[in-house]
C-alpha cells in the first residue's frame, strides 16, 4: 500500500504508482556526537553530509532516480543524458543549503522532482527550504517531503510549497489526508495562499 500523498491542482490523493527511486548513500561509520550526555540529534546547517568514499560507492539504478545532493554535485557529469530525459531528481537533508544546489544548477526546473529529507519532524528548517525553492528559485516541479513526515505538520508543509508527502511508513496516509485542510482561511501570505486574508477579503 502506497503511503505517498500528492496534491494535484490543490486536490490531495494517495498515489499508488510512483516511479521515483530514492537513492541513498551507503552507510558510513556512524559518528555519534555526545554532548552533555545526550546524543546530538540535529546536524548543523552547512555540515558535510557524506564522505568521498560514500559518494563514489553510491549505486544509482536505472530509471527515475532522486539523488542525494552530495552525489549530484560530485557525479553530475554521469547523469547528463538522464537529466535531459527528465529522470533525475535531487534530495537534500535539512542541514544542507538550498543555495548550494541553486549555485550549482541555476535552473532548478531541469529537475522534475526535488525532495527534502526530514530526519525529525520537529526540524522546521524544511519549511524555509521549501519556501526558498518555490519563491527565490522558482522551482515548479514536484516538491516532496521524505522521512519523519506526519499528518500534523502537513498543513504547514503544504503552505510552504511541498506538494507531495511520503507519510512515515507506520502511519496511515488515508488518515493524514484530512489534516491538509485543518484551516480554511489563514491570516498571512505564504507560498500557497499567497495573499494575506485582508487582501483576499474585505474585512470589517
Amino acid at each position: 500500500m502506497s503511503n505517498l500523498i500528492k496534491l494535484n491542482a490543490g486536490v490531495a490523493a494517495i498515489v499508488a504508482d510512483d516511479a521515483w527511486q530514492i537513492v541513498h548513500l551507503p552507510a558510513a561509520e556512524a559518528e555519534v556526537k555526545k554532548q552533555a550526555g545526550k546524543v546530538v540529534l540535529f546536524k548543523l546547517t552547512g555540515a558535510e553530509s557524506a564522505t568521498a568514499e560514500q559518494i563514489a560507492a553510491t549505486e544509482v539504478p536505472a530509471g527515475k532516480v532522486v539523488l542525494p545532493l552530495s552525489v549530484w554535485l560530485a557525479r553530475k557529469a554521469e547523469f547528463a543524458a538522464r537529466v535531459a530525459a527528465g529522470e533525475v531528481g535531487v534530495w537534500l537533508e535539512t542541514h544542507e543549503l538550498v543555495e548550494t544546489l541553486a549555485a550549482d544548477q541555476p535552473d532548478l526546473n531541469v529537475f522534475p522532482l526535488i525532495a527534502v529529507f526530514i530526519e525529525r519532524f520537529a526540524d522546521g528548517r524544511a519549511y524555509s527550504m521549501a519556501a526558498l525553492l518555490r519563491t527565490r528559485y522558482g522551482f515548479k516541479g514536484e516538491l516532496r517531503a521524505l522521512g519523519d513526515v506526519l499528518r500534523d505538520q502537513l498543513f504547514f508543509m503544504k503552505r510552504c510549497g511541498f506538494d507531495a508527502y511520503q507519510i512515515r511508513a507506520d502511519r496511515s496516509a488515508q488518515d493524514a489526508l484530512a489534516s491538509l485542510n485543518d484551516f480554511s482561511e489563514p491570516y498571512q501570505a505564504a507560498v500557497v495562499v499567497d495573499q494575506p486574508v485582508w487582501r483576499r477579503h474585505a474585512r470589517s
Binding site: 554532548q35 519532524f121 520537529a122 522546521g124 487582501r199 474585512r203
Partner: protein
C-alpha cells in the same frame, strides 16, 4: 479593543477542532508522547508536576469583562477555582485534566480567546506596554502593530517549528515598559522628523541561562515593512539557529556567534527578496486595525476633583493606595489604576474565580469594560475617572485587590516554581512569601520605596530575575534547593542585567539576605535615591560584604 471578525473566529474554531482530534488521537495511543509534545505545547499545554498547565493567550495584555468572566468560569469549572497571571501577560491554569482541554478551548473561543502559540518553539504571544493608548509619554499606540504581528505570526507555516521559542515585544512610549531589550525581537515605535511612523528594531535579547541585552538591528524601519522584516529575521534564524543543544538554540546565540554586523547583513540580504511582498502592510490595513483601538467615550473633565482631594487628605490608607497604584493618564480627569495581585499569603499573580468576576464588574463599572494584565503580574484598569477613584478603592478592597504595594518590595515578580512547574530547580512561591513577611510593614515598604524583587525557580527565568533590582534564582545543588542572589538588574530604557553577589543560600536565609541588602541601602542612600541607584553608585561590593560578613558556608547561616 480588537473584536474578532468571521475570519478570526474561524481560525480559533478550527484550532479547537484540530486540537480536539489531536488530543483524541493521543489518548487513543495513535500519537506518541514525542509527537504530541509540540502539538500540545503550541496550544499552551505543559505536563506539570501534578496536572497539565494550560496557558491562555492574552494578546498584548488586553481583555474585556466578558473574557474575564469566561476565565472565571473556566477556573470554576475545570480548575480549582483560581488562575494565575504570568510574566508574559497571559493567564495560566494549573489543574485542568488533559481530556477537558478541548472543551476549555471551546469555551475560550466563545469569548474570542485561545491558547495558540503560548508555548513551544514558535512565535509566542506579542507583549506590550500595559499603559498602551493612555500613557502621557506615548508617542505611538503600539496596539495596532501588535495586533498585525499577532495575526501574521498565528500559524505562520514557515515558522511553526523554530529552533526555540521566539518572543516579540512592542512599545511606543518614551519609557520602555515592555522590557524590549530582553526579547528575541524588540520593537520601539516612534515618529521621525517628518512625522512618519518608524520602528527601531532590537534583536537577540533574552533571559534564560545566558542573559543578553538586545542589539539594534535597524534604527528606523518604515512601518509598512514590519512583517516582511520580521519574516526575514525569523527565516535566517530558522535556517541557521542551532538545533543541537536547546541551551544554545535561542536567536541571541546565533546573533552572538555571527556578530550583529554579519547577522544584519544576512537579514538585509534575505529581506531584499521579501520587501514589498504581499505581507507588506498598507495604510488601509493599519487604519482598519487601528479602529479597534480608538479611545473610549471620555467625558470632558478638568484634571482635578475636589472630592478626590478631600478623601486624599483625610484617609491615609487611600492616599497610600493612590501613591502606589494610581498612574498618570493622557486624558484630563482620568487615571490608570493597578490592582495588586500580590497580597501576602497568596502566590504572586494568583487570582480566584470570585476575584475575576469582581474584576469584570469593576471594569464594567469604572473603566469601559476593559482591563489589562501586566508582566509584573498585576491587573490594570486603564480609564478611571478621578472622581471615582475612592469608590473603586473601596470596591477593590472588598475584593482583596487593593494592596497598596505596586512597585514596592512586596510586589514580587515570581514564577510558579517548584510547587507546580516541572522545569523548576527550586520552589519560588514560599521564597516570595518569606520576603513579603519580612517586609510586611507598609510604612517600612513605603520608606524603602521603588524596588523590584524578581524570583525565578530555574534558569528559564520566567520570574525575570536577571532584571530585578534584587534577583533570586533557584538552583539545584546536590539535590537540594538553593538560591542565588543578584543585584543591579533593571528593566526600562537603561536596562541592565544583575550581578550575582556570591555563593547561594538556603531557602530560610533568603529573607535575611534581602534584609541586609536593604539595610546597606537605607544606611547609604542619598535623598531621593532608589535602591537601584545606590547599587549603581556604590557597586556590588558593600552589599556583598554585609551579606557574607559572618557567614561561613555550611556552618553559620544568614539570619533575618
Amino acid at each position: 479593543m480588537y473584536r474578532y471578525d468571521e475570519y478570526d473566529q474561524r481560525i480559533v474554531d478550527e484550532r479547537v477542532a484540530q486540537f480536539r482530534d489531536q488530543t483524541r488521537r493521543y489518548l487513543a495511543g495513535e500519537l506518541s508522547e514525542d509527537e504530541f509534545k509540540p502539538l500540545r505545547l503550541q496550544n499552551g499545554l505543559y505536563i506539570q508536576r501534578y496536572a497539565p498547565m494550560l496557558r491562555v493567550a492574552v494578546p498584548y495584555g488586553l481583555l474585556n469583562s466578558t473574557q474575564v468572566r469566561k476565565l472565571a468560569y473556566v477556573a470554576r469549572t475545570w480548575d480549582k477555582g483560581y488562575a494565575h497571571v504570568s510574566t508574559r501577560q497571559n493567564f495560566q491554569y494549573n489543574w485542568p485534566a488533559l481530556k477537558d482541554v478541548p472543551d476549555i478551548l471551546a469555551a475560550l473561543a466563545s469569548a474570542q480567546m485561545h491558547a495558540i502559540q503560548t508555548s513551544g518553539n514558535c512565535i509566542r504571544n506579542v507583549t506590550t506596554d500595559q499603559f498602551a493608548g493612555i500613557a502621557p509619554d506615548e508617542v505611538v499606540d503600539p496596539r495596532p502593530i501588535s495586533e498585525i504581528i499577532r495575526q501574521c505570526s498565528t500559524f505562520h507555516p514557515e515558522f511553526a517549528l523554530l529552533p526555540r521559542k521566539f518572543k516579540i515585544a512592542v512599545t511606543g512610549a518614551l519609557e520602555d515598559r515592555a522590557v524590549l531589550q530582553m526579547h528575541d525581537i524588540g520593537l520601539q515605535l516612534f515618529r521621525d522628523a517628518a512625522g512618519e511612523l518608524r520602528i527601531k528594531v532590537w534583536v537577540g535579547g533574552g533571559m534564560g541561562r545566558t542573559p543578553v541585552l538586545g542589539s539594534v538591528l535597524h534604527e528606523a524601519l518604515p512601518w509598512q515593512h514590519i512583517l516582511t522584516y520580521i519574516e526575514a529575521i525569523v527565516r535566517v534564524y530558522n535556517l541557521h539557529g542551532r538545533r543541537d543543544n536547546i541551551y544554545k538554540a535561542r536567536i541571541k546565540i546565533l546573533v552572538k556567534a555571527l556578530g550583529i554586523e554579519e547577522f544584519k547583513r544576512q537579514v538585509e540580504a534575505e529581506w531584499a527578496f521579501q520587501k514589498d511582498g504581499p505581507n507588506t502592510v498598507t495604510q488601509a490595513e493599519l487604519e482598519r486595525v487601528a479602529k479597534s483601538f480608538t479611545a473610549p467615550d471620555y467625558e470632558a473633565l478638568t484634571d482635578s476633583d475636589a472630592s478626590f482631594d478631600a478623601r486624599l487628605a483625610e484617609e491615609k490608607a487611600f492616599a497610600n493606595w493612590v501613591k502606589r497604584c494610581v498612574h498618570a493618564h493622557k486624558q484630563p480627569g482620568y487615571r490608570a489604576v493597578t490592582l495588586s495581585l500580590k497580597t501576602i499569603g497568596i502566590a504572586p499573580g494568583d487570582i480566584s474565580d470570585k476575584q475575576l468576576d469582581a474584576l469584570a464588574d469593576l471594569a464594567d463599572k469604572y473603566s469601559f469594560g476593559e482591563l489589562r494584565t501586566t508582566h509584573e503580574q498585576n491587573v490594570v484598569l486603564s480609564d478611571v475617572k478621578l472622581g471615582e477613584l475612592f469608590a473603586l478603592w473601596q470596591d477593590a478592597k472588598a475584593a482583596g485587590l487593593a494592596t497598596p504595594n505596586i512597585g514596592l518590595i512586596t510586589d514580587v515578580i515570581c514564577c510558579p516554581g517548584g510547587d507546580f512547574c516541572d522545569l523548576a530547580n527550586a520552589k519560588s512561591i514560599p521564597i516570595a512569601e518569606s520576603v513579603q513577611r519580612q517586609f510586611e510593614s507598609l510604612d517600612y515598604q513605603h520608606d524603602i520605596g521603588d524596588l523590584e524583587l524578581n524570583i525565578s525557580g530555574c534558569m528559564n527565568s520566567c520570574g525575570h530575575h536577571h532584571v530585578g533590582h534584587i534577583g533570586v534564582l533557584g538552583v539545584d545543588k546536590n539535590d537540594s534547593e538553593w538560591y542565588q542572589v543578584s543585584i543591579g538588574g533593571k528593566q526600562g530604557n537603561d536596562a541592565s542585567i544583575g550581578e550575582v553577589i556570591g555563593p547561594s543560600f538556603a531557602a530560610d536565609e533568603v529573607a535575611g539576605v534581602v534584609q541586609r541588602l536593604i539595610d546597606v541601602y537605607v544606611e547609604n542612600r542619598e535623598p531621593e535615591e532608589r535602591f537601584i541607584d545606590t547599587v549603581r553608585r556604590l557597586g556590588v561590593a558593600p552589599f556583598k560584604e554585609r551579606v557574607y560578613a559572618d557567614r561561613q558556608p555550611g556552618k553559620k547561616k544568614v539570619e533575618a
